[in-house]
Symmetry: C2
């Protein structure tokens, strides 16, 4: 039976009204009592946009407290928040708006130009929402854990973006599982600098409400400002991606962080041995993790204590979660990584075929390949669909290949990740021209820019006679990777 | 949808194989890895008793690690543990065995004599179980949260003992809710001296597995030994009832506990203002709580910080729980206390009428009377059915009255609690003899001793002409309480 709990922000505000919920860089602080009040006011204002239970409402915003308030406001109306990546092009956003059946788009003023180009019946900026009068309406006082709460898009193995539906329960279990792993202290303060439209960033704000924990809100990553915050603001936990760790360690130099920093939670792709050793030598408490949008953030973590013994491992599944390797074809125990647990999404929005392919008996087929050692530690050895992780953003080669193949003068394309000191990886493309075509690298990059987010556009493009394919005509990206290396 | 999680002991043993699960007074320590191994061995041995999924298996044991191992073993078979109170008479136990459809009784050697008198097809002592060979059997690797796990008897308002069914989910949510309230530290060690056959004691061992936390196991309460353990064994949390706090404070004298003791969780009835003030003055971190068997232990707690401002209050409901007062007949907001949450039992075993009366739309009618102040703090002002709480044990007057009324020479009886410096309360009875009967106080006490647990037997018995009743013939226990006071 689906459990019902009191609305989590109501409950938190009733338990800890005067505790800080969000702290901003300019010193502004918002208590849980205030957050509840403002989210409820927003909900009553949004009710005038005819938003009712089950409606899909998209949010286009950079990291901002107002974004968090709107997300909570939607939960008071029982509406589902579709979180849009501000780095995407209008073309990509339009696809998501339509695919997710979005009724209303709410956007941060800074995104007005982009929002302007999007075709949707109702759109409204944060400040215009604030100007609305409050409607008389019954707000939701309880949350049913099986109800959908957020949709976040991921391209996944097929290259077509799919909306991952997270229920309240997925987020609840994710938060609780993390607490059982990391512990829960009344002094915790979590620094949130990952994009809040990704589940890793969003999850911090739900933990905040469930734990009664302040979040230190940062719009954009800057090694200087994050460093300063850790040094001066009693941060105990921070979520990061590899590229951030690199610049933070550089910024740290010979200093050490205060002991109060008890966890630097590393997600969004693997860290190199040298980076981990460097972190260890500076006593930076890196906790590696593995997860994806479908698992509502981390589902597997490696503790600080195990980090040195198990370099290269992502760790063990969180308490209520399980991991196994699909029947390995080879005897070496290597195979597709399957995960299961109450934090795993029940499926993609309106994607029956993909759901059938990905979800079996509660197990999610990640598409990633790996193995478990004798003690049950997971090692990821190959990412799904040759996933490229660039500065913490996922890039699915198929999506970029499809976009290039649509350009006039292009026959087909193969895309792979190329190592980058700055971003971990950047995409590189191998393009087969149509006969007689005189398309150039610059034309391709320029034409892609209206279809693909900047981080997805190949930084290097090579023209090639034909793509390497195996006997069953499958693109052999490994061969392309070899070429890209040189 | 009911969530499924990996078997919690398997999972804990896989995450923290070498962490201590139980520490005994003699210095013996059992790790989670060992606990899993022993519980699984026990499960395979118990399989020879023909125990299968869904079977009810009663356990009659004082506080002992073996009891805990057997409980975990039963979960590996999917069997339901019926936890018997060792203080009950054979008569009372027999009722529970039959009412709960118990298939097998497992008992601690020290309970052999009592077990001997019980009529049940299969009974076996702990040591005989150990002598069984291990059967080949598939052990449960997952727990479905909706499945029943334990049954614990409570007499409740009707005076008839009813088996409260706890699912795995009830215990899971109880443990998680408590962690969200008290926080979760890797250094935690919980002292368990409350009876493990009560849900308050049992719950510590499930928290242990879910948190990865050692439990300090004590068979019986002794102020000296508990004091010594707190002083020397790095205890961080201890569950107690009022009578224990009294003797601990006395034992403490002018000393103070180590700072590592962060919570003395007080359940099983209210504490007096003077006791709380005494605790405050000695910096003993009392966390008051309110709960009952049906709520799988505490559901409402008052933090140490609020304790002085809110003396007399039981606090606020745990994060996933709710509390409200039933439509108050009077305008003062006083009425029956209703609670709701995923830790609340779904009902009594095979007691449809009682379930209908007690559970409505997820709300449990506690039978207790109270009110909520402006800030949402609960004050309990009258216990259900004039419940008598004696040294942490619940005594329902109706049950004792029924037992007395059955004696030859007795017409009827009324039972109330009388203040006791040692036990908080003790039962006192007002007995109306049948005409011509020459029954004595001693006869009544002696005859009751084969039917009622010693703590339920009235310490004072008064003969009276007739019982005070109101217009609708309802026994007015308040009048009896007045007499008992003098």
């Amino acid at each position: 039976m689906a459990e019902t709990i009191p609305h989590w922000l109501d409950k938190r505000a009733s338990l800890s009204p005067n505790k800080v919920a969000m702290e901003c860089e300019d010193g502004t602080k918002i208590t849980f009592g205030q957050l509840r009040q403002e989210a409820q006011q927003l909900a009553r204002k949004l009710r005038n946009m005819d938003i009712v239970k089950g409606d899909h409402v998209a949010i286009l915003s950079p990291n901002h407290t107002m974004m968090v308030k709107v997300i909570h406001a939607l939960s008071y109306l029982g509406a589902v928040a579709v979180l849009l990546n501000t780095r995407l092009t209008a073309h990509e956003l339009q696809y998501q708006l339509e695919d997710a059946d979005v009724k209303v788009l709410i956007f941060h003023e800074g995104q007005a130009e982009k929002a302007c180009g999007l075709q949707i019946n109702k759109k409204i900026s944060f400040s215009t929402v604030m100007d609305l009068v409050e409607a008389k309406t019954e707000l939701h006082r309880e949350l049913t854990l099986d109800d959908p709460f957020t949709i976040v898009y991921t391209s996944g193995t097929t290259g077509f973006p799919k909306g991952v539906v997270h229920t309240y329960g997925n987020h609840w279990w994710s938060a609780v599982s993390s607490a059982l792993n990391l512990g829960l202290s009344h002094d915790d303060k979590w620094l949130a600098v990952l994009p809040y439209f990704h589940v890793g960033g969003l999850s911090i704000f739900l933990k905040s409400v469930i734990y009664g924990m302040p979040v230190y809100v940062m719009e954009k990553f800057s090694a200087d400002r994050v460093h300063q915050a850790i040094m001066e603001k009693s941060i105990t936990i921070i979520s990061v991606v590899t590229v951030m760790v690199q610049s933070l360690l550089e910024r740290l130099g010979g200093e050490t962080y205060p002991k109060s920093l008890r966890c630097m939670l590393l997600g969004g792709g693997p860290a190199s041995r040298s980076l981990l050793q460097k972190a260890q030598s500076k006593h930076v408490p890196i906790v590696q993790s593995y997860g994806m949008t479908e698992t509502s953030s981390q589902i597997i973590t490696l503790s600080f204590e195990d980090a040195l013994d198990k370099i290269g491992s992502s760790g063990k599944s969180l308490f209520p979660a399980q991991v196994k390797i699909a029947a390995a074809e080879q005897s070496d125990g290597v195979g597709e990584i399957l995960v299961k647990g109450p934090m795993v999404s029940k499926g993609y929005y309106k994607k029956e075929a993909a759901n059938k392919e990905t979800f079996h008996d509660g197990w999610l087929a990640t598409g990633d390949v790996g193995f478990l050692d004798d003690e049950g530690f997971l090692y990821v050895i190959d990412r799904r669909s040759d996933l490229i992780i660039s500065g913490g953003e996922n890039i699915y080669p198929t999506e970029v290949e499809n976009a290039i193949a649509l350009l006039e003068g292009v026959q087909e394309a193969g895309v792979v990740g190329k190592a980058s000191a700055q971003w971990g990886q950047v995409p590189a493309a191998f393009v087969v021209k149509e006969q007689g075509s005189d398309i150039t690298v610059e034309t391709i990059q320029q034409q892609l820019s209206s279809h693909l987010a900047p981080y997805k556009i190949p930084k290097e493009i090579y023209f090639i006679e034909s793509l390497p394919r195996n006997a069953s005509n499958k693109l052999m990206r490994n061969k392309l990777k070899e070429i890209a290396k040189n």
